[in-house]
Amino acid sequence: MRCRGLLAVAFSLAALAGEPVRAGEPARWAGADEQVVAPVAAEAGRRPWRTLLDDSGDLPHFLFLSAGIAGGFALGYGYRALFAGRRSDEEERR
């Protein structure tokens, strides 16, 4: 129980610590594609096309937050089947 509490605090601190970096320094923690592939492609005159889904502004935040909530609920619902093994029909009847 104490371990879980410490983990929750650690995750909260990590989340809080990450926010100013994301807001103030957009290049930091960029993907390796931006750091490595993009300069090579740009040098050769290649530009990535726009993606099919609109990824501008806060829309990805909204979409992934929504997906995370839905996925979290689904994982919680299926936790037993995934990690703890499925109870037999007899056990379920009891």
Partner: protein, 262 residues
């Protein structure tokens, strides 16, 4: 010849409700994704169309053989398709998960195809990578459709076969399951990025020699992928030894020796 009751596929087949839950849980895993990282995934537009078509043509025979192999193996083993689907969900998740590398200050992702190749074989890992890359291109803008062949060659073919060969070679040499799986995951990751660097060097080297561009891209990937490759090795070793303890029959499908201490 395994009996109908003793066959691992038959055991899974006796649990239809579990089958029904598999796609649901796979979707749940996929939906729990954080923001995607692209890294080795080449976006549409990065490669000239001629080169993209060339890489697609190179990948096509692998896809055709892998799909044929899936069909043949699924006829003999009813539990194969749900297993491949679950592995595909795991690869989809792993290969879109951005992991920050603190010293470098960038993010990149593992590939998961080494793990997939160990669990379901390298040809099934090609199918798994194809499904993961297709869904990522469609829903995450992660990779692209014109570059699907190039991405499949690096992650699905090179990654899967490098990981599988390393794993099998080390097992044949008497290495422990965990050590062999670690090497499989590590080399699978590095092979993926090496082939991505080769694809970029071949197709968009411009006026510079292709070898120079390859070295530049490979060295650019190295600070992020060296630690991430080690992480992927650890992850693969952990996953394979976990599966070997809980479900040794899954590894037994490939005829692997899975003597693991309980």
């Amino acid at each position: 010849m395994p009996t109908a009751c003793g066959h691992p596929g038959a055991e899974i087949a006796r649990r239809p409700r579990s089958h029904l839950r598999s796609p649901f849980l796979a979707a749940a895993l996929a939906l729990a994704l954080p923001f995607p990282a692209r890294a080795m995934h080449l976006a549409d537009g990065v490669l000239p169309l001629g080169w993209a078509a060339f890489f697609g043509a190179l990948a096509l025979p692998f896809v055709a053989f892998a799909l044929g192999s899936l069909r043949r193996r699924a006829e003999a083993d009813v539990g194969l398709k749900p297993l491949v689907a679950m592995v595909a969900a795991a690869v989809f998740l792993l290969s879109a998960m951005p992991i920050p590398v603190p010293v470098v200050g960038t993010c990149s992702h593992p590939c998961g195809t080494g793990l997939a190749a160990i669990l379901v074989g390298p040809w099934m890992a090609v199918v798994v990578a194809l499904v993961a890359l297709l869904l990522q291109a469609l829903f995450l803008g992660h990779g692209g459709f014109t570059t699907l062949g190039a991405d499949l060659l690096s992650m699905g073919v090179a990654g899967a076969f490098a990981g599988w060969l390393a794993f099998r070679a080390l097992r044949a040499a008497g290495a422990s399951l965990g050590a062999a799986a670690f090497a499989g995951g590590l080399l699978s990751d590095w092979a993926t990025y090496a082939v991505t660097a080769a694809e970029l060097a071949a197709s968009i080297h411009g006026a510079r020699p292709a070898g120079q561009v390859f070295a530049w891209v490979a060295l650019g990937f190295a600070p992020t992928q060296v630690p991430l490759g080690i992480l992927e090795g650890l992850l693969t070793a952990g996953a394979v030894t976990f599966v070997a303890r809980r479900r040794p029959d899954l590894l037994g499908r490939l005829g692997l020796d899975v003597e693991v201490a309980a």
